[in-house]
């Protein structure tokens, strides 16, 4: 997964992979796979994060260099305190960027919707006739090893569910049709 990070005036692209797929030199076999491999400008860094307090305070090792980090934010706009210094950082993954670009400005009032990425449908939570409000969860799409919530973009009534639980979908496949709410 690729991330885009803005720190001050700089934007950096960071590629994230599980550390286990990186060859570990001299690592004992059977050692627990630790952390992630992050690449920036072709240079790789082993990063291991450990929650001191989940969502709030972390101990982070970057190539074994130790950072005490306190965070505040939702994962997109983050306030970081790194060894006493405060930073405001914006983080967006490629999926979020794509969707932000597609979404464009303004909102629609109904229509058919398609998946923007390949994945497996998990947990369909609506059926034909379900009345939904913008923000309600409709189904979960497992993609990029993450469970992604698929939510109603606007108020409406489900007119068709084009997929079933466990079905593999491609980007562009129809998922659910929503008619604008009436009355």
């Amino acid at each position: 997964m690729k991330y885009f990070v803005r720190v001050g005036q700089r934007e950096l692209e960071v590629l994230v992979q599980p550390a286990s797929i990186q060859p570990e030199s001299g690592a004992e076999s059977g050692a627990a796979p630790l952390g992630l491999c992050l690449s920036v400008n072709g240079r790789a860094y082993q990063v291991e994060t450990s929650a001191v307090q989940e969502g709030e305070k972390y101990s982070v090792l970057i190539d074994q260099r130790s950072f005490s980090v306190s965070i505040d934010g939702d994962g997109r706009e983050l306030s970081l305190i790194v060894n006493g210094l405060a930073y405001q950082v914006a983080v967006e993954d490629e999926r979020e960027r794509v969707m932000r670009e597609i979404a464009g400005p303004g909102g629609a009032q109904g229509g058919d919707m398609e998946s923007v990425m390949p994945g497996i449908v998990r947990k369909i939570e609506v059926e034909v006739g379900s009345r939904v409000a913008a923000g309600d969860r409709l189904l979960i799409l497992e993609a990029m090893k993450m469970e992604n919530e698929i939510c109603a973009e606007w108020d409406g009534v489900v007119t068709a569910v084009h997929v079933s639980d466990g079905q593999t979908v491609d980007g562009g496949d129809l998922l659910v049709s929503l008619a604008p709410a009436t009355g």
């Binding site: 997964m1 991330y3 990070v5 720190v7 001050g8 700089r10 950096l12 960071v14 994230v16 992050l38 920036v40 990063v47 994060t49 929650a51 969502g55 709030e56 972390y58 982070v60 970057i62 005490s68 980090v69 306190s70 965070i71 505040d72 939702d74 994962g75 997109r76 983050l78 970081l80 305190i81 790194v82 060894n83 006493g84 210094l85 405060a86 930073y87 950082v89 983080v91 993954d93 999926r95 979404a103 058919d112 919707m113 398609e114 998946s115 923007v116 990425m117 947990k123 923000g135 969860r137 979960i140 993450m146 469970e147 992604n148 919530e149 698929i150 939510c151 109603a152 973009e153 998922l175």
Partner: protein, 501 residues
Amino acid sequence: MSKRLRKVLVANRGEIAVRILRACREEDIPTVAVYSDADRNALHVRLSDEAVRIGPAPASESYLKGDTLLEVAARTGCDALHPGYGFLSENGDFSDACEAAGVTFIGPTGEAMREMGDKVRARARMQAAGVTVAPGSPGAVSDPAELERIVAEIGLPVMIKASAGGGGKGIRIIHAAKELKSAFELARSEAEKSFKSGAVYVEKYLEHPRHIEVQVLADHHGNVVHLGERECSIQRRHQKVLEETPSPVVDPALREQMGAAAVRAAREVGYRNAGTVEFLLDQNRQFYFLEMNTRLQVEHPITEMITGIDIVREQLRIAAGQALSIQQQDVTRRGHSIEVRICAEDPDNNFLPAVGTVKQLDLPGGGRVRIDAGLYEGLRVGVHYDPLLAKLIVRANDREEAIARMRRALREFHVTGVKTNIGFLLRILESAGFQSGNYDTGFIERHREKLFAPPTENEALEVALLAVSLAHELRKLRAVRSAEPGGAACRDSGISAWRRA
């Protein structure tokens, strides 16, 4: 006069109330804290023996209500009141009202405060006591013609100051003769509005002075001692940001001169209890009386750190009528101490006060590190009071070691939920200008660019790696949570995987 205080009302809030309460507890003196509606959970309430609500959050309806405070003192059986700093601490009439009500005011008399509070009178008294004041008008200036006459004598630039002002407020600096007349009128109307007195005076403006103050203690038995200087030149808009002692430029001979002048100043107005005489020091190492702060000072701990004298404890002893526990020859100063003021403010947004609720708090530890604070996780930082969150104070054998210790301690100090100036303080401590010791009150303005430089490339890279690894964690956390039955609603995530077909 009794030799012991029976019970002390602490008429303040925040870190200074905590500081005073701690001293009382160590002296085994029962305490009464007061609180506004905003401070029900405050540390000073929790560290007191008794606590009494005195009104709504605005200070004018709570901490500034002298009558209410005296009522509380009577009701709870307090025989003494400590005003801390700010609020009513420099209100001479309140000091008098306390004494009239039979409550010992832990501070100077109203008379001494008024003499020092009126800057024109203070100048005259200091000259009488042989304390040098900056060249300027002998008294209040009444018209522009008189102002021009005096300026012709002492030369530009000059400062026009409100006679009733203080703490850096009500000051105008004039560099050109043609500005004099309009500046005079403006200063007069400003002073009238801010201090209810239009009296202004003029003083020679010293270019790039150092701001150095001397701590004094005076008892009821005629003993007045000084505890040496504090260097307070690191200021932003006349507000102190960092203080240290000894001053990098004060040698024993100059310390002796300034200390003696401070003692003369205190004696001149019959001062008693703890006070601070502020001086400006020019490039020729000539010092001039600036003003006297007739109360406990925010930065008093650095003096305590190197003298071993507990200033608040001395205040309590003095108020009880006891003699000072030390004579001048007993005062020894060892090592170096620095204090920084950690404030809820946003250095990237012109230091606007920041509000919020403190979420995470990690405090530094280790030897010779002191924290005076009313800070705790869950503290709501609002708009009603000053933005001081904590004072971080270190002691070391010498200045270099003290700077290193302060940098280390600041890097351990983590606060989330409220923006603070910690990064800015670190930049000051890391700057060559500060480390050289060769700085003055213009330091922050002159080094603005360096002190506010954006993150370096390497710093940005590190931050990006940290941010991405943690953002990745947060996304996993959210995915797990939302997959649970009754998991978090999508609308919080701001993510949608939809697009119109």
